[in-house]
Symmetry: none
Subunit: 224 residues, 2 copies
DNA sequence: TCCGGGCGTTAAGAAACCGTCAGGAACCGG
DNA sequence: CCGGTTCCTGACGGTTTCTTAACGCCCGGA
């Protein structure tokens, strides 16, 4: 479960990450390109895969897509580019989180821990609890201060998708296609309206949200 | 109910699991192969059986099939293989959950708890009581203020589905397909008519229901 | 400093939905 | 054949939910 596969074409980064991660108790395997990464992942079950988007052979999101065809292994994406297109595509393909280069090792380690923690507890999902409210996915109910909170179907759809992927960054397109349907993938307006309503109903300070965080230009993230 | 039977041919795993499970409050019995596992299960009623698929004598799914001929005991499968074929066969044969080796003990314990929790609440609750009426699911009877309430077959079908899932939100489609059949999944009209009748017969204030709550656009919820 | 894009907020009309009622069809036992 | 029960169906007003547009704010880039 502490096995990490690091995929990057830069041997320096590869070496640095290997040393750092090893020093923090992880067992590290490395791969220099997409094809060998896919082979390695097929041969050995890793606890998490750290994947650079800029690979020499295959596009990063393609690697993710092909991995996701048979595996739910958590994927943490590294990206040198600032453009958010790549990030959105990677996350839509099924990545769990991303870190922009240049990144601090502390941040990488923290996100690694978060991703691993989530994958362990992702099995049971009947109850999601936060400081100010509780989501019961089985009963389809949200409680706040002991009282039920009335949610409309759309509000619940958004909340459910976010709550099933705690800490994970969900893109606007994912939310829109999941809740409204594929034809609405461009209607980012709706999201703003309904995220505001969710925050008003669930956050202590809707103007300063602690559980429903916005990632500008990309999507939203739910923090339990 | 805390009795666990662990079936594995590797004595090391057997020993490790025995120690770990015992430390978590379970009473543990062990068996090294399929035949002795079946005998042990026949002799003593276990709360759950942890079964390795790779046994020396009988195939794992065969063990499950033979167990299922007379027992509903929850079965948690361990398997070293990654192929999903085994998984599907084991689950089809009647296994309740599945853990792939190598597995973290935390994960195993979590799944064990989940399996046990499910089997406990699956027991029977022939009697459901509320502030104003009582439902006897076994006798198919509803009593209010000591008097029987006459329910039509359709009304009973709705009430039974709701009462078997107290607090849980049942969607209109679930109700319609369960009570009327899959072809009626769109006839939300029927539901409104019959929910009104149920409320008139069972609620103290039919116009202000306390036990049969509406979730607009989704379905209904029964609160005991 | 100005500009533009993305975000949060609000409000109002449109659309969907709900509870209710009642008439008629279908079914069943006598 | 008849009476009673149950079920189906359409219509109506009131309510909830969805959609849509508009406005102001913040931030980063020119």
């Amino acid at each position: 479960m502490n096995d990490v596969l690091v995929v990057d074409d830069d041997p320096h980064i590869l070496k640095a990450l290997k040393i750092t991660l090893h020093a923090h108790g992880y067992t590290v395997a490395t791969a220099p390109d997409g094809e060998s990464a896919l082979r390695a992942a097929a041969r050995h079950p890793f606890g998490v895969i750290v994947l650079d988007l800029g690979l020499p052979d295959i596009d990063g999101s393609t690697v993710i897509t092909r991995l996701r065809q048979w595996s739910h292994v958590p994927i943490l994406v590294l990206s040198a580019r600032h453009g958010s297109d790549d990030k959105v595509r990677a996350l839509d393909a099924g990545a769990d989180d991303y870190v922009t280069k240049p990144f601090g090792l502390d941040e990488l380690l923290a996100r690694l821990r978060a991703v691993l923690r989530r994958s362990i507890q992702a099995d049971d999902l009947p109850l999601v609890t936060t400081a100010s409210f509780t989501i019961d996915l089985a009963l389809r109910r949200v409680t706040r201060n002991g009282q039920d909170v009335r949610l409309t179907p759309t509000e619940w759809g958004i909340l459910e998708l976010l709550a099933r992927n705690p800490e994970k960054l969900i893109t606007q397109q994912q939310l829109l296609t999941e809740v409204w349907g594929a034809a609405y993938a461009k209607e980012a307006n709706y999201l703003r309206v309904y995220m505001a309503q969710l925050r008003r109903k669930l956050e202590q300070e809707p103007g300063n949200p602690r559980h429903f965080l916005t990632e500008a230009g990309i999507g939203y993230r739910f923090i339990p």
